[in-house]
């Protein structure tokens, strides 16, 4: 377990692009949005836009989730040699979340300010990202595992996981909007936690099955 984590950690540190690129993409797309539609700043739509862009960023990052290890054969070796393949998969998902979702916890509030959300809403944005993004990494991992064998899997990956992202989007944006309006955020907190926990229950097994299918496709 610890050696797996250490390896993943070193790979993540050495591939700085994996962390910086999604943040840059998120910043850039937010800027595009504000330039194209200036009225959205400080409007009711800001929370929704923020979450939609986070979702798209996650989608882009997911395409690379298993690709490098798949192409180099590391993935096959890991699954063969790991005592519990389940743990290896879970470690990979956790690291993917650290390099995308966890970063969103820090970057999200800043983007919220750019989009004109009130400063009081920033803790809520961080909370929404913290509770919601694990579900994106977990459910996304299922789609990524099935499509990693395709040379052009991006569109199919999007078709597969976007519908599954919808509940996270609804409650994530809902949490920020509720905080903005000054009402209780607890319903959204419970809902997001539930979604992430359900995703945690199914994703490692489904990912494992998906990776096995993809490895046989080679």
């Amino acid at each position: 377990m610890s050696s797996l984590l250490r390896r993943e950690w070193q790979v993540a540190l050495r591939a700085k692009g994996a962390i910086i690129n999604p943040v840059a993409f998120l910043l850039l797309s937010t800027t595009l949005f504000v330039i194209a539609a200036p009225d959205t700043v400080s409007s009711d739509a800001a929370a929704g836009i923020l979450w939609t862009l986070v979702l798209l960023t996650q989608l882009l990052a997911l395409d690379a989730m298993y690709r490098r290890d798949f192409d180099s054969g590391v993935l096959e070796q890991t699954l063969v040699s790991a005592q519990v393949p389940f743990v290896a998969v879970l470690t990979r998902i956790f690291m993917q979340w650290l390099s995308t979702g966890f970063i969103m916890v820090a970057v999200g509030p800043a983007l919220g300010i750019l989009l004109g959300l009130p400063a009081e809403a920033t803790p809520a944005i961080a909370l929404a990202m913290l509770l919601g993004t694990p579900a994106l990494s977990l459910l996304g991992s299922i789609g990524a595992s099935v499509t990693v064998g395709f040379s052009r899997g991006g569109v199919i990956l999007a078709l597969l996981v976007m519908p599954l992202f919808l509940p996270t989007l609804i409650f994530g944006a809902g949490l920020v909007a509720a905080a903005e309006a000054g009402s209780s955020v607890m319903p959204q907190v419970y809902a997001l936690s539930l979604i992430s926990l359900v995703a945690l229950a199914i994703a490692p097994f489904a990912t494992l099955a998906g990776l096995k299918i993809s490895l046989e496709m080679q």
Binding site: L139, P163, P167
Partner: protein, 253 residues
């Protein structure tokens, strides 16, 4: 004793040849009952059921829309259950079932969306409203499209079967979460802009034809799925001896 015979039945069910022989008569039963029920329900619902006191005659679209929406969901859940059985017991037949349900489910979901849109025009005053139920049906359509795209992308039959079974299963687990979250979203954003999403208590002259139509749609789906499954079995077992024998017997008749 019982468990042994059940086990044998289970193994037989997995055999395409046995399934093919078994369903020969089922196809006729499903087909004829679909025809009778749909004709009966259509005439009753469109011609004889009383007009709605609020919606007038436009409510009759319900006789197509409601069964289509129900069937759209049932077919997806059916694919999820087939996927689960296929993954756990490695049954060949379940992928045949998925391949049969998929196109029908897509078309029926599109029909549910289209008929709902046609009904929404006179009732809500617009072709499209972002109503909770509409959106969850739309998402269901996307779930179908995802599996369709995935199946198109994988050439190997066995791997295609496993991949689509997996995704159908994951989708089925997520359907209730998507449904309830979308409904929650709807009530938050547009509370009671129209009061018709709540089902009115209908008199029996109105819902009995609906019941007939629902049964008719399910019989129709059973018919189409069986025919498609049998065709697919013939396609996959083309080289098998029993298929050649069957074709011979048929052509001599």
């Amino acid at each position: 004793m019982l468990s042994a015979s059940l086990k044998r039945l289970w193994h037989k069910l997995g055999s395409p040849r046995w399934f093919f022989a078994l369903t020969e008569s089922w196809v006729k039963v499903a087909g004829w009952s679909a025809l009778v029920l749909l004709v009966w329900g259509t005439i009753w619902g469109l011609g004889f059921a009383p007009a709605d006191y609020q919606q007038g005659n436009s409510f009759r679209i319900m006789y197509v829309h409601v069964p289509a929406a129900m069937l759209a969901q049932s077919l997806y859940i059916g694919m999820g259950v087939a996927g689960f059985i296929g993954l756990v017991w490695r049954m060949k037949l379940t992928d045949v079932a998925i391949s049969a349900c998929l196109p029908l489910g897509m078309v029926i979901t599109a029909l549910a969306l289209f008929s709902g849109s046609v009904w929404g025009r006179p009732t809500w005053g617009s072709w499209w409203e972002w109503d909770g139920r509409t959106v969850s049906t739309l998402v269901l359509f996307f779930l179908y499209v995802g599996i369709y795209a995935l199946r198109e992308a994988i050439a190997d039959q066995e791997l295609r079967a496993r991949a689509s079974a997996l995704i159908a299963m994951v989708g089925t687990i997520n359907i209730p979460i998507i449904k309830y979250s979308v409904e929650w979203w709807n009530t938050l954003h547009q509370p009671a802009s129209f009061g018709l999403t709540q089902k009115p208590a209908m008199p029996s002259e109105m819902w009995l034809p609906l019941l007939v139509m629902v049964l008719g749609f399910y019989a129709f789906a059973g018919f189409i799925v069986l025919v498609r499954m049998r065709t697919e079995i013939l396609n996959r077992e083309l080289g098998a001896r029993w298929v050649r024998d069957w074709v011979q017997v048929r052509s001599e008749r």
